[in-house]
């Protein structure tokens, strides 16, 4: 029997759920490769047994009667049994590695054997269930589907052909190895933070050989590619739309000269202003609000489902005109529809679903078409702002650099001039982003410190990140 710490410890897995088996095998084949080797029971130096798995304990007892080798016991409840090392759940790689060391110390031929139990005591501090306890408790109450031990136990009951499903629940609750053990936590347990070990070593299993990897381009599913079409016509159209949303200014304004710029507008003069009022009204009153133009066209805000209907297509020239034309007083009114009106409106919305938009999406587009790359005359641009929440960019009209601007503004407070400088992207994109996100109320005056460390550290991966983005955005292999 090999008992050198240079060789992996030969272990045999007793019965265990397929899920836990997969996880252990994943570990033993990768990060734990030099420490554990899975072998047949006959060759094993130690057993690995999950005491929470139904029948596993009996199986272990039978095995050690034939051949009394030590065991690593995985369980929620503390296990103080001779010739075993208890590894408490949730398992960590560290506790598994430690258990191997402890097992080695009791194997025949080891000169400095120590008390396994003492070692196990130490390990207990490395584990904690508190982070999960709350959820487990609530799941037990309302039977949510996170699995827990009910999963394999119900499988077992099914296998023995229990005709009544309710009986499975009883069996599960009465089984003393089930999660109910978690309910009375040990006070000596350390905070959950200690469970996760921060290490820098990158462990990456290589489940694939090169030949089995790429299935070939026959698997291309064009329907999945949503990146813009490459055709020139489409690119041109796309550019035109961006010009509408962001303007075409190429010169940068600065904190010193922006107020003299010709690129300013007064939001209060446009439909946008009424829409913002309507948004606030609908959010506070939780009612549907209709914004009616004197042409008879209207928008309907539906706060309960976060949707908005517009009788004018958002992508039409008419809508661009309506947004960009200053309104005389009284040309727009806000209306709270009556019940009868609402049922009529609902019918329209259902029939004309194509013109139903994400509510924030409608406001965002309106804000961009109105500002058209200009700054608000009344904007207070002196104090640095921070983006408190990201806009829902997957459901808002896109323009270049928006993701990047959001990421930086979320981490670092600044004004539009700072951002355009820091990122070196066209200033009109920063201004457009600012206008849209500001209208949605996503900015706050800076309070906390910036996340400096995060910004300093990551440059090392920049090349790879850039290649990954190009691949994903370019459509790549799929």
């Amino acid at each position: 029997m090999l008992n050198s710490s240079n060789n992996p410890l030969k272990v045999a897995l007793l019965s265990i759920s397929p899920h836990n088996r997969a996880i252990l095998e994943f570990f033993f084949a990768g990060a734990g490769k030099s420490i554990f080797q899975i072998v047949a029971i006959k060759e094993a130096e130690a057993l690995v047994v999950d005491f929470d798995h139904p029948g596993a304990r009996q199986e272990w007892e039978e095995n050690i009667r034939i051949s009394p080798i030590p065991a690593i016991v995985l369980s929620v409840k503390e296990c103080d049994v001779e010739n075993t090392v208890w590894v408490p759940k949730p398992l960590t790689s560290q506790s598994l590695v430690q258990s191997a060391t402890q097992i080695r110390q009791v194997l025949p031929g080891n000169t400095h054997s120590t008390d396994i139990a003492a070692g196990a005591e130490k390990q207990r501090t490395a584990s904690d269930m508190s982070s999960l306890r709350e959820l487990l408790d609530s799941q037990q109450k309302d039977k949510q589907v996170f699995g827990l031990s009910g999963w394999q136990q119900r499988e077992r009951v099914k296998a023995t052909a229990s005709p009544i499903f309710a009986a499975a629940g009883v069996a599960y609750e009465e089984d003393d190895s089930s999660v109910s053990a978690v309910e009375k936590p040990d006070d000596s347990i350390a905070p959950a933070d200690e469970q996760l070990i921060g290490t820098d070593d990158v462990y990456v299993p290589e489940p694939l050989s090169d030949d089995e990897a790429l299935p070939g381009d026959s698997s291309l599913q064009l329907g999945q590619v949503t990146t813009p079409d490459d055709s020139e016509q489409d690119q041109e159209k796309q550019q035109q739309r961006w010009d509408l949303l962001c303007g075409q200014a190429t010169q940068r304004v600065t904190a010193a000269n922006w107020q003299e710029s010709t690129q300013l507008y007064t939001p209060e003069n446009y439909l946008l202003n009424s829409l913002i009022d309507a948004l606030n009204l609908s959010r506070t009153s939780k009612q549907y609000v209709q914004v009616i133009l004197d042409s008879g066209n209207y928008m309907l805000l539906m706060p309960d489902v976060n949707l908005a209907y517009s009788s004018i297509d958002l992508y039409s020239e008419l809508f661009t005109d309506v947004c960009g034309t200053p309104l005389q007083g009284g040309k727009v009114k806000l209306h709270l529809p009556s019940t009868t009106e609402l049922s009529e409106l609902e019918e329209v919305v259902v029939q004309d679903a194509r013109q139903t938009y994400d509510m924030e999406g409608l406001i965002w587009t309106t804000s961009l078409l109105t500002s058209h790359g200009r700054l608000s005359r009344n904007a207070d641009l002196s104090s640095p702002l921070r983006l408190k929440s990201w806009p829902n960019l997957t459901r808002l009209e896109q323009f270049p650099d928006a993701m990047q601007i959001a990421a930086l503004w979320h981490q670092k407070a600044g004004n539009v001039f700072d951002l355009s400088e820091w990122l070196d992207v066209p200033q009109r994109h920063v201004i457009a982003f600012f206008n849209g996100a500001h209208t949605l109320g996503l900015f706050e005056v800076n309070q906390g410190e910036d996340e400096q460390e995060k910004q300093a550290a990551p440059k090392k991966n920049r090349g790879l990140f850039s290649r990954l983005l190009k691949r994903l955005l370019g459509g790549g292999k799929k």
Partner: protein, 180 residues
């Protein structure tokens, strides 16, 4: 020649769309270990992932981005640290039609707390097409309540563009200076 390996982890409750999302951007047909669900989850979906999902994006000869999906039937003895080792970011998918998405968010952000602090989290909310409530704004306030700073997007895991946006947000959050 050395190979650079990076890892992105997808997590979230049963049926949130992890397998589908990885499949949408992986170069290889993903290795999945879906099994027919037990009674407990059958009402929601016929297949569930019992071990890890694995996908891969190859960048040239020597760079690989590995995509891992955790099993949806989260068990208390799951080895979180093993899965996250070497990861650059976590993509949490939440299913808007589940009974209590806030609790799901709390559970997963807590389970991955250390990792989120060291690396980066991005949240994708799926199935808003089936149920519009709660809305993205609710998810934003929940994150604030949990003192977590992370982008939240509505996504459909079947849409490659949506999944790409999550990865984009992740990479830009890690380094806003990345260029394309």
């Amino acid at each position: 020649m050395t190979t650079t390996n990076k890892k992105i982890i997808f997590t979230g409750p049963v049926g949130a769309g992890k397998t589908t999302a990885i499949d949408a951007i992986s170069d290889i047909s993903i290795i999945r270990t879906d099994e027919y669900a037990s009674d407990m989850t059958k009402s929601r979906k016929p297949q569930t992932t019992v071990a890890m999902d694995y996908g891969l994006i190859r960048l040239g000869e020597n760079e690989r981005v590995h995509l891992y999906g955790t099993p949806g039937q989260e068990r208390f003895d799951f080895m979180w640290d093993i899965l996250t080792k070497g990861g650059i970011g976590l993509i949490l998918l939440l299913d808007n039609t589940r009974p209590d998405p806030y609790r799901d968010m709390k559970f997963y952000t807590n389970a991955f707390r250390d990792f989120i602090q060291q690396e980066q989290l991005v949240v994708g909310v799926t199935r808003l097409d089936l149920q519009r409530k709660p809305g993205i704004n609710d998810y934003r306030s929940w994150l604030k309540e949990l003192s977590i700073d992370a982008p939240v997007f509505e996504i459909d895991a079947r849409d490659r563009g949506d999944v790409t946006s999550l990865v984009q947000a992740l990479l830009y959050s890690l380094d806003p200076g990345v260029t394309t």
